[in-house]
Amino acid sequence: MTEENGQWHQVIDVNELDDGEMIGVEIGERRIAIYKVDGEFYATDNICTHAFAILSDGWLDGDVVECPLHGGCFNVCTGKALGDPVEVDLQTYELRVVDGILEVLCPKETAQEAGKTKCA
């Protein structure tokens, strides 16, 4: 399933995630966190921009995820870094639901990077 902006990847069944929960998924070498907030799904990079930590191992409070390593917080809807010690925003991903399956749009660069990695 490709389109101009990148490639759609199936990640989870929409029933797999309850409201207020999050889950980490891997697409190629990319780690993505999927969140469900007030009935809506959101997706961001799953690695903290401050130090190497998996955000889905942290704590989701409303629309804010708190990193388990040093307590940095991000808004999961916008990816925005919410202050110390995090400064760099998280990349967010487009999502869609097809036949009860949640899909993530991985941008084109990712596919190219993945291709390079394979060739190397």
Partner: protein, 407 residues
């Protein structure tokens, strides 16, 4: 237009300057830093910086490069020598005088020196970027390194030195590591991890004297013998820089005493960061907290308070330490309470030791690779709530060691 002077170019001073500017377009802000260069981040000095994983430029605090654009008059390498409260003037070592309407003391701390005979040049302390640079260049593969002090700083340096292939010994005066503030269970676990990583840990050892051994080595004399090393690094705590405050007649008692609004005993002088002794927790007990997170958050409150906003600083104490692949986080007072509960992570080998009182309210906690619990517990502590029953059900009871039983 009000004139704000901030003494201290560490995290607290920097944060306060930015927050003053964020809240006020026309505040006149002067920030005095005693060290050369822009304000930088200290936590990596004992970790990533020693390991060479971050360089000097990477340490600069975010937005410090924007002082000019933000109209913050930052002066590096300038030491404040005197505060004249009557005239509302700060005098500096370079002969300048600065008038203030509101003054913030964010003077931080300095290292505690070891009372040793014959202090030598290759005896290191670690606090500043210059200290860390000197240590980094001394930590070559195979170097024999002795770390004096088994607190967080000493242990982080030991872990970094070990990772760099040094031969490392930690010498601690007390009978366990992390004796200040950590429960014994945590001390014993961390000691085990350091030993597994090849660190020699000597407990209950108070260094007597240090003497030169040949041109480049040091001999540290201990009660049960002596240790010869290429590098000795001392991390035995810090002392708050309270001199300016006490000379100005402000209330000082193991830190500059402030209220929750960060006001000192002079209503026009505020203080923030680890130099302060401030109300902490529901009891309002005065505590001096050595924590990066506190320094930043308390400084932001101080800035708002200086502008007359109705704010209060009431964060529970919090710190983290990274050693090898361990992330240690401490919240509240892990030695308070009457009981300890052990909570193991569901999906990893991480765990959390929670101290609770008789009402099952968490008083403090230490998490090892389990920061998720700290996020939850912080929310419970801030609300003064009890541990969720589902959490308690997942916990194991821990037998308290006598010295941990404080409550």
């Amino acid at each position: 237009m009000q004139a704000f002077v901030i003494i201290g170019g560490g995290l607290a001073g920097h944060k306060a300057a930015l927050e003053l500017r964020r809240l006020s377009d026309d505040a006149q802000i002067t920030l005095l830093g005693e060290e050369p260069g822009l304000p930088y981040d200290r936590p990596p000095l004992t970790k990533d910086f020693l390991l060479g994983e971050i360089d000097e430029a990477g340490l600069t605090l975010s937005n410090a490069e924007n002082y000019e654009q933000k109209k913050i008059d930052f002066r590096a390498g300038v030491r404040a020598t005197r505060v004249d409260r009557g005239a509302r003037i700060v005098a500096t070592a370079d002969g300048a005088t600065l008038s203030y309407d509101k003054l913030l003391l964010a003077t931080g701390s300095r290292v505690r020196k070891m009372p040793l005979e014959g202090e030598r040049e290759n005896l290191h302390y670690i606090r500043t970027l210059d200290d860390a640079k000197r240590i980094r260049s001394a930590l070559g593969q195979g170097a024999r390194v002795t770390v004096v002090g088994g607190g967080f700083i000493g242990l982080e340096v030991a872990a970094a030195a070990r990772s760099l292939g040094c031969d490392v010994t930690v010498v601690e005066a007390r009978d366990r590591l992390l004796s200040r503030g950590m429960p014994r269970l945590v001390s014993d676990y961390i000691e085990g991890v350091h030993r597994e990583n090849g660190v020699d840990v000597m407990l209950a050892s108070v260094p007597g004297s240090i003497v030169a051994e040949g041109p480049r080595q040091l001999r540290l004399n201990l009660p049960d013998g002596s240790l010869v090393s290429d590098v000795v690094i001392v991390g035995i705590g810090i002392v708050p820089n309270t001199e300016l405050a006490s000379e100005a007649g402000l209330e000082v008692e193991n830190g500059i005493v402030v209220d929750a609004q960060c006001r000192t005993s002079d209503p026009d002088i505020f203080a923030a960061g680890e130099v302060t002794r401030h109300p902490s927790g529901p009891s309002g007990q005065l505590r001096r907290i050595e924590s990066w997170r506190h320094a930043g958050n308390q400084a932001a409150i101080a800035a708002a308070s200086m502008l007359g906003e109705d704010v209060a600083f009431d964060d529970p104490p919090y710190l983290w330490s990274d050693q090898y692949d361990l992330n240690i986080q401490s919240l509240g007072d892990p030695l308070a309470g009457t009981r300890q509960l052990l909570h193991r992570a569901a999906k990893s080998d991480g765990w959390t030791l929670v101290s609770v009182n008789d009402a099952m309210q968490p008083m403090g906690a230490v998490a090892i690779n389990n920061g998720r619990d700290i996020s939850m517990l912080r929310r419970v502590i801030l609300k003064g709530g009890r541990l969720p029953e589902s959490f308690v059900d997942e916990c194991e009871a821990v037998r308290l060691s006598s010295e941990d039983a404080v409550g």
